[in-house]
């Protein structure tokens, strides 16, 4: 939606009074004590039973490590107190009035969203292929074995590249199979699952909406799976996280706001 603030997108900044928005929580949460993006103090704007955590928008938003961490930390502090709807990094509201009006207008939507994630955390699991077990691969795959023999008889650059490529494909295939198995063990422990981007190396990337009281079990299961499939896939687990992957913005077309 075009708003007045889009007038100067190249500068990556909004006008005076613009607010960096971290997330929305039920009214009653304490303001996070952690510093916000660009070191700004974080405060709560409360309206209609909802509180938005905001800070003065920096002159320029950049994806700096400390700012990404600040965003994450503020949300983490809120999420430990109550369900919170996390904003994506770098979302700005034009001014206080706009934000307060929006909270009032979309109260029902936000409350429903909060209800869906209440008592839950997001657990993110990623898995990357492990280039090991070559001997195993070669012995199980006749084609690969033949390629390896041929390469050994006539070792040249092209043959080696072909062999290596075939091995890489096999490693990816094994990793994907392991990812499938890991996923099938984790899905039943989660209320919802959100798939992330995968490629030939990152073969598993998924977020799981897990009830807080099942977090321990989830963690144990990931560890178990990591041990079982460690030769084919290396898993990393991050969480509990604010529920980034399980919140939806209001779908209604944005009403023509007064000014920007």
């Amino acid at each position: 939606m075009a708003t007045a603030s889009f007038a100067a997108p190249s500068r990556g900044s909004a006008g005076a009074g613009a607010l960096y928005v971290y997330g929305i929580a039920p009214a009653g949460v304490r303001a996070p004590r952690a510093g916000g993006v660009d070191g700004a103090a974080v405060r709560l704007l409360t309206s209609s039973g909802l509180s938005a955590a905001v800070s003065a928008a920096p002159a320029r938003v950049r994806a700096r490590r400390r700012d990404l961490l600040a965003h994450q930390t503020v949300l983490g502090e809120l999420a430990r107190q109550a369900p919170v709807l996390p904003m994506r990094f770098a979302v700005l509201a034009g001014d206080e009035g706009t934000l307060v009006a929006y909270l009032r207008e979309q109260r029902l939507h936000f409350e429903a969203q909060l209800h869906r994630i209440r008592g839950c955390v997001e657990m993110n699991v990623k898995g990357v292929t492990v280039p090991g077990c070559f001997e195993d691969l070669v012995h199980r795959d006749a084609k690969l074995r033949e390629l390896a023999r041929r390469t050994r008889r006539r070792p040249d650059y092209d043959a080696n590249v072909r062999l290596g490529e075939a091995l890489a494909r096999a490693v990816t295939r094994e990793g994907r199979r392991a990812a499938q198995e890991v996923r099938s063990r984790l899905v039943p422990l989660a209320r919802r699952t959100a798939q992330g981007e995968v490629d030939d190396t990152v073969v598993l990337s998924a977020s799981f909406l897990v009830p807080a009281d099942a977090e321990h079990r989830f963690r144990r299961t990931v560890e178990e799976q990591a041990r079982r499939h460690g030769a084919r896939i290396a898993l990393s687990l991050t969480g509990p996280l604010p529920c980034y992957s399980f919140v939806d913005a209001p779908t209604t077309a944005a009403p023509a706001l007064t000014g920007g």
Partner: protein, 199 residues
């Protein structure tokens, strides 16, 4: 926020999941989360490009050659005992390292690491591009602090030839695929692969 679970198995079986880092959740912070259409989402120049780049980094001829080399050292006719890759690279000297460990370390080369690597490269290309270098510089500061226990993982960079700082010498990059376990092997194996490639 990320919670680190110290694993009791860390030493005997290193294939337990490593706790995530900021890099592991970069995709969530930047791509997920709510975006409200009446608000403004500041465009973060460079980030989208970085993500595409990060995927391209992975597959390379260099990787293939090293896989092939590992395979060429195998006894193709023998059926039993699976050798671990670090053993293959380290001869008999891979004491206390298992392939699982290599695997666990390799986890560090997931999305975040690739992003960092690409960011670093971007930064190298144009130091004035704030969106790119801002993050990379920060990451460097962070690495220098030595606060991040996962630091070693970042150094297993897919493109170790770029942006190496001298102080990283104590832990040299372990190669594209993380299968290599010992620094000295790096010196020994790489030139060999290269020579072969020049034949």
């Amino acid at each position: 926020m990320t919670v680190v679970t110290p694993s009791p198995y860390a030493d005997e079986l290193a294939c337990v999941p490593r706790a995530g880092t900021l890099y592991d959740v970069l995709d969530l912070i930047l791509d997920r989360g709510m975006v409200i259409d009446v608000f403004v989402r500041v465009s973060l120049v460079g980030i989208e490009i970085i993500k595409i780049d990060a995927r391209i980094v992975v597959a390379s001829v260099d990787t293939y050659l090293r896989f092939a080399e590992a395979c060429n050292r195998l006894d193709l006719e023998r059926t039993s005992r699976s050798k671990t890759v670090p053993e293959l690279f380290g001869g008999g000297g891979a004491v206390g390292r298992t392939v699982a460990k290599a695997g666990a370390r390799k986890a560090g080369r997931s999305l975040g690491d690739k992003v960092r690597d690409v960011l670093g490269t971007e930064g190298h290309r144009d130091d004035r591009d704030a969106e790119d270098t801002g993050y990379a510089e920060d990451a460097e500061d962070h690495a220098r602090d030595g606060l991040d226990e996962e630091e070693h993982a970042y150094e297993e960079s897919p493109r170790p030839q770029r942006r190496r700082r001298p102080e990283e010498g104590r832990r040299r990059p372990a190669g594209t695929s993380g299968e290599r376990s010992r620094d000295r092997d790096d010196d020994r194996d790489r030139p060999r692969a290269r020579r072969r490639s020049e034949d």
